[in-house]
Amino acid sequence: MSGPIAQQTSGSNTVQRGGSGGGLADVIDLILEKGLVIDLYARVSLVGIEILTIDVRIVVASVDTYLRFAEAVNRLDIAHDGTSQGLPQFLGDAQESGAKKKTRGALEGAQERLKETFGSGDDDDKDDEKKTPARRRSRKEDDE
């Protein structure tokens, strides 16, 4: 079956539609955690199939999340508030790169685990959209 896994319907300019760019990431929790379960209704002769254990949730430690926010506000252009221009802004950028290394390490670690699970990069929108534009584009082909 070659259709997109989450169908696209008529769209608008501001609301992104799931079919085109969403793919597996938008529905994987449903596939794995929702839906009818066979053994609720019948005592079945389950085939001895083995299901790979998959934990799709990317758990990034809270501290890393906090650092990510701290980094994000630091990166904000706050010229309009009149308190920080020129040199402080520059220092802010330099300082950010230190924090970014740590945070990025954690996020990429999580993504590595996903990659192992799914074979190809399941770079869903859980984290770094900006970092992986090329792979986001290529994923569409994977999904179809």
């Binding site: 259709g3 896994i5 319907t9 008529s10 501001t14 992104q16 609720l40 079945v44 300082q95």
Partner: protein, 265 residues
């Protein structure tokens, strides 16, 4: 039905025709038809097993390997989505359901569960699930947070003024700043997520909201929408999306099988 429980997928004898273990994608009405050439796991042909008022959507189970590859998940969803795309109501099974053979699907699944499946199918007939996800436009909302909380603004300004070689000394302050921002976002999202849901709920028959996965997400909810009301619902989402576009990005996924609207047990 001989018990095969515990047999490994790789070591059973080659099944005879019709005896292969069956993977179950979902259950639909007995009179439903499949899309032409529908294929599932490993490209295996999908078929219906009819019993009473219901039919199971199945294919042979791939042998000799564990399930759970990315392609398997896509195949599972693809079979269901193809049915939805033709306007067929289908109850999705959670990934990984399989029975020993076609007879077992009939006897152990449809014969025992058919009545209940029929009731759920009646209740969901002609309805689809649409999933709405929304996340903040991060910079915009972070500015709001800073403007709305003097403590956050003050700490942020102080951290900006710390030179790079002293940045490590401010590590805990950065964590604290991030924590304060995270809490402020949480408050916002509780209130605003609820508002978004309330705007859209009238267009749906049921709503299931879940806690969004990321802190910068505002909303993650599934709506059960009648097929004849879908266009109007999507229009409402589009209007709402435009109204909040500078702060919140909305994404609508679907139509999906009604995963979130199958009653527990």
């Amino acid at each position: 039905m001989t018990a095969q429980t515990g047999a490994q997928a790789g070591d059973e004898q080659v099944p005879q025709d019709g005896q292969a273990p069956q993977y179950v994608y979902g259950v639909t009405r007995a009179d439903a038809s499949l899309p032409d050439g529908a294929t599932g796991l490993d490209g295996k042909p999908v078929s219906l097993i009819v019993h009473g008022p219901c039919a199971a959507v199945v294919s042979d189970l791939p042998q000799g390997r564990p399930l759970g590859e990315r392609a398997d998940l896509i195949a599972h969803q693809g079979v269901l989505t193809a049915l939805i795309g033709e306007g067929t109501t289908v109850l999705p099974f959670r990934f990984g359901a399989a029975l020993t053979g076609r007879q077992a699907v009939q006897d152990e699944l449809l014969a025992t569960g058919g009545e209940r499946f029929g009731e759920i199918l009646d209740a969901l007939q002609g309805r689809v699930e649409l999933r709405l996800k929304g996340s903040y436009v991060q910079d915009t909302v972070l500015r709001e947070v800073m403007a709305g909380d003097p403590q956050i603004a003050e700490l942020s300004a102080r951290l900006r003024s710390i030179p790079e070689d002293a940045a490590d000394a401010a590590y805990y302050d950065r964590v604290r700043l991030g924590e304060m921002i995270s809490q402020a976002l949480q408050q916002r999202r509780d209130a605003e997520g609820q508002q978004l849901l309330e705007r859209l709920a009238p267009g749906a028959e049921a709503v299931v909201a879940r806690v969004p996965a990321r802190e910068e997400d505002v909303v993650d909810a599934s709506f059960l929408v009648r097929a004849d009301a879908r266009e109007q619902f999507e229009k409402s989402v589009a209007e709402l999306g435009e109204a909040v576009a500078d702060r919140i990005k909305l994404r609508l996924v679907g139509p999906l099988p009604p995963y979130d609207f199958i009653p527990d047990n």
